[in-house]
Amino acid sequence: MTYLHDQMASTGKVKRSKDLPQGAERLKEEHRKVVKDCRSQIEHWNKVEKDYESLQDRLRTLPDKLSYDIMVPFGPLAFMPGKLVHTNELTVLLGDNWFAKCSAKQADTLVEHRKKHVKNALDDLQKVMKNFQNKDDFTDDLEKLAGDTEDFVDIREEVINEEEFTKGKRLAHKPNSKPKQEYLSDLEEDTEKKEGDEERTTGLLSEEELWARLDELECEEELQDERYRHAVRINTGKNTTLKFSERNEQKVQAKRKKKSGKSNGLSPHESYKITSPADIYRVFVDLVNGEPIPRKSILKSRSRENSVCSDTSESSTADFEERRAAFGRSWSHDDATHSDTSDGITEEESPTGTSPRTNGRFEAFTGTVIEKEPLPCSIPYLTIAPPALPTIPERKLEEVGPEALQEPPKRMSKFKATRLHQT
């Protein structure tokens, strides 16, 4: 049985503590002590009772004779022959220095009364002893039960704190981790249908070219990400994220081809880094007529997008349509280089003029950038950013220079454009 105990203890799961047998031992010791005490007391009271009984006998026989010849004790060392007279007259000690003169029979009654008390005490002691004996037996049984692995087991689990914390590390989702795959998988499926035909003709590139293309796209994206690190406030949500999504899709497709060709273990999302809240919007894109449309809200479903909810959305849809057309044309083109400046500046002036510019280039950014303070975006609540990134404020410092020129024109554009459209 002990072997089993040790086994269980070693696993660390079921604690076969040494406390239990020790505690039980201690308890049993205490029980035994009490029982011993009780026994000694019972013995004492039994003696008292016996004494009283013998006294009663004496009392009954004493008045039989008028006088008795006895040896009377004289001091501590001598005796003297004498007579015991008035055998019926007794001075009884009642207790607490009280005495009473009474006859033998009355004395007998008194003794009887005292014997009652003694009996009561004895009964109490017996009860206590029995109680403790039972407790002792019970602890024995308990020990046996607890010790027995067959019937009952005291299930105890030690919480090994460190193990728990380090085992299942709660990592923030890396950009290439699964959740995004779900979103983009739909994308892949949908785009494949439409773009498949178009792409297949030009997509029959060699593997090396695909790889090169992929690398280019990655560099491009990094540049993009660097520049648009600060938060993009998307008013309508449609225009601004379009570029991101499209670019992303392109990359995805390229990667997909690569994947089909090479079937490497890389997921198509490795270049798909979410480093700012804007990137999230990239993820959430719907497909309308085979074209990716960024969602107005990542919580909303697509059905609501077609409804007319605001004035601005109308105008933006107008813009959007044109852009879409432009993009559709340029869909098949693969181009590595790309300039951000041209995007922002030219777009605000004429939406229609996007087509020549977009020849072969996916604009990273179709809408306006409204700069936010560094602080709010460094605390993104939706971001699924990998932990190893430099902090956003730092990045911002890097980009402030190059973008300083770009910002003012961009800031004005959106509202102005919409206002112009409206009026």
Binding site: G95, D96, W98, F99
Partner: protein, 127 residues
């Protein structure tokens, strides 16, 4: 700092021990009273068993003084009441002492903690 705390600990400990002694004294006194109570109860009952013919004596020092039965009964009753009152008094006293000892215990434990903290830490540091 550690020495001061040690001294404090010592004084507190002494106080606590004194208090414990007082508690035990009170306990024993109370036990004695309890015994007297039972005894007097028996006396009362036995006096009830006797009739007027029996002369009752009270031992005062070396002298047995004759007492009236009723008087004796009254005396015994009074004594009983007195004993009960004494027991009550001792009860409250004991409770009070128990409370104080509890406080002292807490103080002691806190001092011990502090003592361990600033006494064994430097020792550990030295090691």
């Amino acid at each position: 700092m550690a020495e001061a705390i040690q001294k404090k600990l010592q004084s507190e400990l002494e106080k606590y021990q004194q208090l414990q002694k007082d508690v035990s004294k009170s306990m024993s006194a109370r036990q004695k009273l309890e015994a007297q109570l039972t005894e007097n109860n028996i006396v009362k009952e036995e006096l009830a068993l006797l009739d007027i013919q029996n002369t009752v004596y009270k031992l005062i020092g070396p002298v047995l003084v004759k007492q009236d039965l009723d008087e004796a009964k009254a005396t015994v009753s009074k004594r009983l009441e007195y004993i009960n009152g004494e027991i009550q008094r001792y009860e409250t006293l004991l409770k009070e002492m128990e409370r104080k000892s509890e406080q002292h215990r807490e103080v002691l434990s806190s001092l011990q903690h502090v003592n361990i903290f600033c006494f064994e830490m430097p020792q550990a540091a030295d090691m």
